[in-house]
């Protein structure tokens, strides 16, 4: 199939330089990680892999990642001052270079410590032009882009859970653009991921929590930045 590009994949994104993959993409990964963490982050440790580890200072990858953790979009003018802003917000930051295995050259793992001591780890790759792919949350392998409202549900790997969840989405008139299920071990835990065309209302999220077999629910609303424009590739 031929690749497909929209006009604003070419004239865009509007972003803070210097590199769409090393700066804009890094900010997006940081922001998605923050949304996944869902609550106050007191410490963020970044493990940089490949090209990220070699050139992160010159490309401002470090500042962009921290800006993302602070909730900034890739076109936020405060991005270059993110280190100071993190300090003011009382978030401790560290960077180290390391191998994350057989992954894309521009990959980072972010270990976030929350106020209650819980540690959430998110791994993402910046795959070009500012587009990103989240590949791991905690111990679970996942795969989603953050271009759509994304629903992440951890659940027991048993029959009926997926059907129950999709029925609730159907009842809320939510169209599923992409859906995938990742399971680490048969009959144990699994993660389902829905990328949807509409944001999911609070009431539906509440109902989803009550579905038998569902463990945790995380909902990532789509960012209103120019990069969140649906990319068709």
């Amino acid at each position: 199939m031929q690749k497909k590009y929209g006009i604003f994949d070419i004239i865009g994104p509007v972003m803070i330089g210097p590199s769409s993959s090393h700066t804009a993409g890094a900010a997006r990964i940081g922001r998605i990680a923050r949304l996944i963490a869902g609550s106050e982050i007191v410490k963020a440790d970044f493990i940089l892999h490949g090209s990220f580890s070699k050139t992160y200072r010159g490309h401002g990858t470090d500042r962009a990642l921290v800006a993302g953790i602070l909730g900034m979009l890739p076109d936020d003018d405060r991005l270059r001052d993110s280190m100071d802003l993190a300090k003011e917000a009382g978030i401790s930051i560290s960077f180290r270079e390391g191998s994350l295995g057989d992954v894309h050259p521009n990959t980072v793992r972010i270990d976030m410590t929350l106020a209650d001591g819980e540690i959430i780890s998110v791994t993402g790759s910046s795959i070009g032009g500012g587009a990103v792919l989240i590949t791991r949350i905690g111990d679970e392998d996942v795969q989603f882009t953050g271009n759509y409202p994304t629903l992440l549900i951890t659940h027991t790997d048993s029959p009926g859970v997926v059907a129950h969840v999709t029925r609730l989405l159907y009842e809320a008139s939510i169209n599923i653009a992409f859906m995938s299920v990742f399971r680490s071990q048969r009959g144990k835990s699994a993660t389902m991921i829905f990328e949807t065309d509409e944001n999911i209302p609070e009431g539906t999220l509440e109902k989803l929590k009550d579905v038998s077999g569902v463990g945790g629910i995380r909902f990532l609303p789509v960012a209103s930045d120019s990069l969140s424009y649906p990319v068709t590739t």
């Binding site: 929209g6 070419i10 004239i11 070009g128």
Partner: protein, 292 residues
């Protein structure tokens, strides 16, 4: 875009009797379900950022994060005012603006990637120069940007716009081809003439490698942006004079892609070969990495 090639793009525009820019907005609206007006305003916002990044670099000395580049757009702007330019005000202004965007980008300022951040100076330099030197109005500039976007989409769909994949010819080459199309359309050329200008640009940028010092989007990227807009202006003038490209646009895109794939990895954004591998390049890289 639901257009698979440059020739298909020309055909569709001719059939409907509209410009490439107009066609692009209609297509975009049809494919995304977003209104014509909203898509128009989105490009208007992008143009605002282009305006601010071109003017910022010329009115003040902007220095990159690494300190490797900066202040050149300011020098060019001053030189332009002095009126001593060899090439005249159009080329001097265009180069000043292209350098300006590149410097703003390298200083972690706000830019529009078009098609990439590394080549972000070429298209803004072209349209802002057309505005100031030829009095092109905002409506026609925005339509020109849509034309550039459509042509860029055709390039991306059939080849690549990534330096890591196809070298600088894929980034600055593509940006210059897009800018050439925009200029020709703004000056009243036909869709066929627009793509002929794009083809001429590619013919003159084929083989350009991506060899940035220390892997940063600075040296030689800023000056290649300046060169890219000159290439676009030159190609536009040739086409507007009636010169035709013997090799059609689609074939030049194919050539660019096949050359890109034949390039060794050391010349595709790795910061290893070419200028990055020279004695001076290595010394500069060492200085940057030594500052850790």
């Amino acid at each position: 875009m639901n257009i698979s090639s440059g020739s298909e793009l020309i055909g569709a525009c001719e059939k409907q009797g509209i410009t490439i820019g107009e066609f692009a907005i209609r297509q975009e609206s049809e494919e995304t379900g977003i209104s014509y007006e909203e898509i128009w305003n989105r490009m208007k916002e992008a143009l605002k950022v282009m305006e601010s990044s071109t003017s910022k670099g010329v009115s003040e000395k902007v220095i990159s994060v690494s300190g490797l580049i900066g202040g050149d757009a300011y020098k060019m702007g001053k030189y332009l005012k002095e009126g001593r330019s060899v090439g005249g005000s159009v080329t001097t202004r265009a180069m000043a603006y292209a350098l300006a965007c590149s410097e703003v980008n390298a200083s972690m300022g706000k830019i529009v990637a078009c098609p990439t951040a590394g080549a972000c100076g070429i298209l803004p330099a072209a349209v802002m120069t057309m505005k100031e030197e030829h009095g092109i109005g905002e409506k026609d500039i925005i339509l020109g940007l849509f034309a550039a976007g459509a042509v860029g989409a055709v390039i991306a769909q059939n080849a690549t716009i990534s330096g890591a994949e196809g070298g600088c010819q894929a980034e600055c080459g593509s940006a210059a081809a897009m800018a050439a199309c925009a200029i020709v359309q703004m000056m009243g050329g036909t869709p066929g003439m627009c793509l002929d200008a794009g083809a001429i640009v590619f013919k003159n940028t084929l083989g350009l490698v991506c060899d940035p010092i220390a892997g940063l989007v600075e040296v030689p990227c800023a000056k290649r942006n300046a060169q890219g807009v000159l290439s676009a202006i030159g190609a536009a003038d040739m086409v507007l004079a009636g010169v035709e490209s013997r090799i059609p646009f689609d074939d030049t895109v194919e050539a660019m892609y096949s050359i890109g794939r034949a390039m060794p990895e050391s010349l595709r954004e790795t910061g290893i070969g070419g200028l990055a591998g020279t004695a001076a390049g290595k010394i500069l890289a060492k200085r940057i990495f030594g500052e850790k």
